[in-house]
Symmetry: C2
Subunit: 455 residues, 2 copies
């Protein structure tokens, strides 16, 4: 894919952002006979999916999993001829609780009997609350009270053992890239509902982490973009969208020139959509939404090895931590085993301070951690690769935008509503699998449908 | 003040934003012998203070009061020869509680005995919590739990009568332009601490609303700018700040050209500072701060009359409401009585939907409300003037940026810390009278001190 220097300056629809949401909108609009121009700020497509050579394989700096309920993504993958493979999930998992390592099988870590009971009851309460969430979530009975409550406040009142709270918090941190204190309880419940329940979000087998992409998750966006190449403009951050002239086409000002269109799809997270200048000024609900959905903080780290030695010891490579810096570790070895890899996520509070430390100190910390988990073989990785998504100017955080307490009542009603001829997409606007690749596709489909009048 | 077309392209310090924070920083830096250029996005100075002719007087679309504890502002006002006058505060106030009007004297509305006791106890609890808040607030014992709690959640647990909750909520709504659900309890407490206690924030006599400015509050900024005129560039929104070249001057890209400086003071609310492109990318704590301090929502409405007829009936003009759209009404008659005016604040939830209604319907609603409060004389205003601060592109809300639950732990440590040679000002960064004109001055003073090494 190369940058076009003379793109068409006029189309029926300009799509802002060549992540999965924008590309899916563009693909569906073209299939329905509309002309489309896709403007992308980066020099690549894929947004928060971004695959790169690491050692002898292509691995993922960004989103990387697909689950069995993600029907749009699975159908698209089949259509595009993209191969997936099961996430490695054999063997024991490790849990580091108050500095003590223990191993377990299945999804729920082994805790003391009381903590385990507490955890089960806590998760059951969350499931029961999730089942009560309607669409839209603000129609849920007691919605404003649930939205006024942070997940942390709820956990303090409803989960009573430190260990059970720690496990719940670790799971939520990784899902949102945020501390439980930062998350509206109603938002967490609605997010869980959109993915079929909290356990679906955190599980490997049967859940959102079940399979990976042989060529990396970005291959989905790359294949979609290939069919759109003549309409795709890279290195074209959009600065201004002007729909102030009644009846006239919209003007879209970008670093690659000005484009005109009858409709615009803005397929960006709200935190980035707020960086565009709109004429006329956005109505207050939309403007205030853009200020109220900060991105989570996630640092994703790969340590490469000659072979996946942990598997030989009956370990899955998965580990969960109750305190920082790392929240969770996974085996991220390539599909053919050619490149062994362990993957660590640093999320929430420690993610925000991690990149302030010297690079050598960061690497040393990770290597020591892996050696503690998996033995001395882990002390000598062949490579160490980290990406701090908060410093990516065209994402500003990962995996997803998060509503804090009180933000759903403000921002949620504006989430999908078009503003004149501006249509809003991006996985944050999805009502199914919000925050996931599947949600991005669904949001693009919805935005395209708003324009063509189709479902 | 006119726009300079050929400003100096180089200065010791470039100040971004000609609100009170930026102007005070510029003034102090110049007094210490440094050269300064002030870049302002609007065609005027003053930021969230903005005075305009209304009928036979100049009244305030934005911030308008000064309290007796605001020493910097009072000293500056004396120095600049600006006149103030006491806010009209004589006579009975009105409270609309569940649709029933009652009148009262003093600061605390008349409620039933049980509600009144409940309100006093609730305010005493808030005062006790405020007294425990340290500087920085995150050092307060139990800070993370207080930050994880929204003010709404706290009120539900600690104030037991609907009437007392309604009065507390109405006061907080006006102070922050936000619903109690949107506000971190720790932030509310720290904000109250910065102003000497919650009651100081809401009181007229002895509090933050004690006096007004004869020529409008913007006269302070206008007088400061007059002394800076040769260095002030209007219509110059800053788009890019580049400090990526080590040892070289910073490059500041604006719509009025590129400027260079050894230091930059960004004197904007965090929500607007996030709209600037920084090179290199900001460190994660600062970047995530910019995403986590949305602006409150405030619509400020004036109704002009031939005379302040409510005064003749022994009414102060002040009224408080437990439900929307209006939260509070004040007498805003000019200092000399030449222009009678009532002022209504619509804040929080109703402010976000108010401008979506037809203009005629908005005006009718306000006129009916005033007639209900003050009788049939109020049914015929000579003019109706409203400003919705959420739609002001260079403010995006008012009066202040607000931390939701969980945001203090993330963002507060980055609030004042310079990023290389970028210094951060604006009333949100103040530690005294945060959110007020006084806080803006204090923040500019602090930023100037960082550069000159003075206190």
């Amino acid at each position: 894919m190369k940058k076009r220097t003379q793109p068409a300056a006029r189309a029926d629809v300009v799509v802002v952002g060549a992540g999965l949401a924008g590309l899916n909108a563009a693909r569906l609009l073209r299939a329905r006979g509309l002309s489309v121009i896709v403007l992308e700020a980066r020099d690549r497509v894929g947004g928060r999916t971004w695959s790169a050579p690491m050692g002898r394989a292509i691995l993922d700096r960004g989103g990387q999993w697909v689950g069995p309920q993600q029907h749009r993504l699975l159908a698209l993958v089949r259509e595009l001829g993209i191969e997936t493979f099961p996430t490695y999930d054999t063997g024991a998992k490790l849990m580091d609780l108050r500095g003590e390592l223990r191993s377990y099988e299945g999804t729920i870590p082994s805790l003391g009997a009381l903590s385990l009971l507490d955890l089960h009851l806590g998760l059951r309460k969350l499931d029961a609350l999730t089942d009560r969430v309607t669409r839209p979530a603000l129609d849920t009975p007691d919605a404003l009270r649930l939205d006024a409550t942070s997940v942390e406040t709820w956990m303090q009142a409803n989960i009573h053992t430190e260990a059970a709270r720690a496990v719940t918090a670790a799971a939520l941190r990784v899902v949102f890239g945020a501390e439980p204190a930062e998350i509206s309880l109603l938002y967490a419940l609605d997010y869980a509902r959109a993915g079929g329940g909290l356990m679906k979000l955190v599980e490997v087998r049967g859940g959102a982490q079940e399979r990976r992409f042989v060529q990396g998750a970005q291959s989905v966006a790359v294949a979609m973009a290939a069919a759109l190449e003549d309409t795709l403009v890279l290195n074209a951050p959009v600065r201004r969208i002007d729909q102030s002239a009644p009846g006239a086409p919209l003007q879209i000002g970008s670093d690659a020139g000005t484009f005109t269109a009858d409709h615009v799809v803005v397929a960006l997270p709200p935190a980035l959509a707020g960086g565009i200048e709109y004429r006329p000024a956005l109505p207050p609900p939309r403007e205030q939404l853009h200020q109220r959905m900060p991105m989570g903080a996630t640092v994703k780290i790969h340590l490469l090895y000659d072979r996946p030695f942990w598997r030989e010891r009956g370990l899955s490579g998965e580990a969960v931590f109750d305190r920082g810096p790392v929240s969770v570790v996974f085996d991220n070895t390539s599909h053919d085993g050619a490149q062994a890899a362990l993957l660590a996520f640093i999320v929430g509070d420690p993610a925000r301070t991690w990149s302030l430390r010297p690079e050598g100190a960061r690497r040393d910390t990770m290597v020591r951690l892996m050696a503690r988990l998996f033995g001395s073989d882990a002390a000598h990785p062949t490579d160490y690769i980290e990406i701090d998504w908060s410093t990516e100017p065209w994402s500003r955080g990962c995996p997803v935008g998060v509503f804090a307490a009180g933000a759903m009542r403000v921002a949620s009603p504006a989430m999908q509503a078009p503003t004149g001829r501006i249509h809003w997409a991006g996985t944050e606007t999805a009502t199914e699998w919000t925050g996931y690749m599947e949600g991005a596709l669904q949001s693009g489909e919805r935005a395209a449908g708003e324009i063509t009048g189709a479902r």
